[in-house]
């Protein structure tokens, strides 16, 4: 049985008013334990609405979302329990920091879960370690941190709840190139070490190709594709009709293949490309 099962889910904003707007329409997909899924789609395609339904912040207008086979809206009064199991990190999460110290802020989620003090301390330390926050920063005010550190502290606040599924809505937006690479690597390490399921909303095809196993493509409120990354990124033409593209390196290799070079299709990272190109050059005797 899949961990999360989304079936025929739709969401309509302000229904029965002149401002009525369908943000998500008849979306169905399954997520298995341990998946690392990238969610891509142009602005306004319904990604953010979709992820807010997955943790029960928005209630689907129709359709069902099942976690471990149980509809998350079965007991509306216990929806908070769902939010602890499906952790959602919003876009620009640093704007939600409010406590006096970073430690207290990261503790906010675990405190709401009603855990013991030692357990909370332990979780805060682990979460801070996962996102690479130094221990001495924990006693500082979150407002004294740098932009990148604030972002990490906010992500740690969700990781500290130890959710079964971690959803990140554009976690790298607005970070410098080094910051994004480091953050991405940390999220990947978290996924590998804990074996947790991660859903990763992003505009960067490179980021999705680098860390995700599967990708889910949203287009005009509908689920357009849901497959492994290499199969999705081998359809450059179809993606470009949706205002998306394949990672740069994939485009380069695709062009080389079109020019007659014997490379494999579906190369997603620079490392793989370098590997294939050196192999080829060795075979040709040029290296």
């Amino acid at each position: 049985m899949s961990l999360l099962s989304v079936k025929d889910v739709s969401f309509v904003y302000s229904p029965k008013t002149p401002f009525q707007h369908t943000a998500v329409e008849n979306v169905s997909f399954d997520v298995n334990q341990g998946d690392f899924i990238g969610i891509i789609g142009h602005t306004g395609s319904g990604k953010s609405t979709l992820v807010q339904m997955l943790n029960g912040l928005l209630k689907p207008t129709s359709g069902s979302i099942k976690l471990d086979g149980i509809d998350i809206w079965d007991k509306p009064k216990e929806i908070r329990k769902i939010r602890f199991r499906v952790g959602l990190v919003f876009q620009y999460p640093e704007y939600q920091l409010f406590e006096e110290t970073v430690e207290k802020d990261i503790s906010f989620g675990p405190m709401n879960m009603g855990l013991s003090e030692e357990e909370i301390k332990e979780r805060v330390r682990n979460a801070a370690q996962f996102v690479g926050l130094d221990t001495e920063l924990l006693q500082k005010s979150p407002f004294d941190l740098s932009g990148g550190e604030k972002r990490r502290a906010a992500i740690a606040g969700v990781i500290a709840m130890d959710p079964d599924i971690l959803i990140l809505d554009e976690p790298c937006a607005g970070l410098d190139p080094l910051g994004r690479d480091v953050l991405l690597a940390q999220i990947y390490r978290y996924h590998k070490q804990r074996g947790n399921t991660v859903l990763f909303v992003s505009h960067s095809m490179e980021d999705v190709a680098a860390v995700c196993d599967k990708a889910l493509v949203m287009n005009h409120s509908r689920l357009e594709m849901y497959d492994t990354c290499d199969r999705i990124f081998s359809q450059a033409d179809r993606l470009s009709t949706m205002g998306l593209r394949v990672p740069q390196i994939t485009a380069i290799i695709d062009n080389l293949i079109a020019a007659g070079f014997p490379f494999h299709q579906g190369i997603l990272t620079v490392e793989n490309a370098v590997h294939d190109i050196t192999e080829y050059m060795k075979k040709e005797g040029r290296l």
């Binding site: 807010q52 908070r80 602890f84 959602l88 919003f90 704007y95 879960m113 969700v158 709840m161």
Partner: protein, 269 residues
């Protein structure tokens, strides 16, 4: 969060929408003063009829007006009840310390109708006038105060900015609430003190972002060489049209009507 209708602009294309905002503001002030100068039922009925006519002319859905009335319904009920029971004069009904008099009933109806007219008339102004028009008009109307060194332009600019940021801050509040709920914040249950405490995770980020926005806006305004109101021209000049003169005459007629009715029916009620 989004159902705050009081003070919300509702774009449409009615006569009332096209009126000069200065005329609308002055007429509203006249109307509010008049509402408290009605001393009998006939003049009160005239005032109610006037506001209903304007409400219909404004082409704003009646639902919107009902929504803004819903906010103050409690106040209307409480003040009417107080007036009902604290009337002086001959009691027509008495039970213990509670007594109802004709005077009380009359006062209750008066207060009720007055408050409703007050809310409806001011709703007409905010529904049919965009915030920028409103502050523009206020700036023009307050111009004479410059003699007393009142910083009219600065006040108007502050009002414009405040109004401009109401929807932005509401949206921001929604976002922060969602983010804290995602971390398990519980805002729906508990007693008063726990509920007030539950607001801290929302208010602190909201204030921080309000200050950040204020700072950014100040820098952006300076970048565009904003130096206050001295010698500043405006894109939209306000000019009085025929419909404005007609409505001024209408307002004057209503004023005269209320005064006459007050004198004429002095002993009627």
């Amino acid at each position: 969060m989004r159902d705050i209708t009081l003070g919300q602009y509702f774009p449409s294309d009615s006569v009332i929408h096209r009126l000069d905002p200065r005329v609308k503001i002055l007429s509203l002030i006249a109307y509010i003063v008049l509402i408290f100068c009605t001393f009998n039922f006939v003049s009160l009925a005239l005032m109610a009829a006037v506001v209903l006519l304007i409400v219909l002319l404004s082409k704003v859905p009646l639902k919107m007006y009902l929504k803004s009335l819903k906010v103050i319904i409690v106040i209307v009920v409480i003040t009417s009840l107080l007036n009902l029971f604290y009337g002086t004069g001959e009691p027509i009904f008495q039970w213990g310390f509670i007594k109802v008099t004709w005077e009380g009933i009359k006062n209750a109806i008066f207060v009720c109708v007055r408050i409703i007219c007050l809310i409806l008339s001011s709703s007409v102004l905010t529904f049919t006038t965009s915030p920028t028009d409103l502050t523009d008009a206020l700036e023009r109307l307050m111009k004479p105060l410059k003699i007393f060194h009142v910083k009219v332009h600065e006040i108007a600019m502050m009002m414009t900015i405040a109004l401009r940021f109401v929807p932005t801050l509401l949206e921001e509040t929604d976002k922060i609430m969602a983010a804290q709920k995602a971390r398990g914040a519980d805002m729906e249950s508990g007693n008063l003190i726990t509920r007030i405490k539950a607001l801290v995770p929302i208010l602190v980020p909201l204030f921080v972002s309000a200050f950040r926005r204020a700072y950014e806006l100040a820098v952006a305004m300076e970048c565009r060489c904003y130096r206050g109101g001295e010698g500043r021209t405006r894109m939209k000049q306000l000019h009085l049209a025929n419909r404005d003169y007609i409505s001024i005459v209408f307002t004057l007629l209503v004023i005269a009507g209320v005064i006459l009715l007050n004198i004429f029916f002095k002993f009627a009620v």
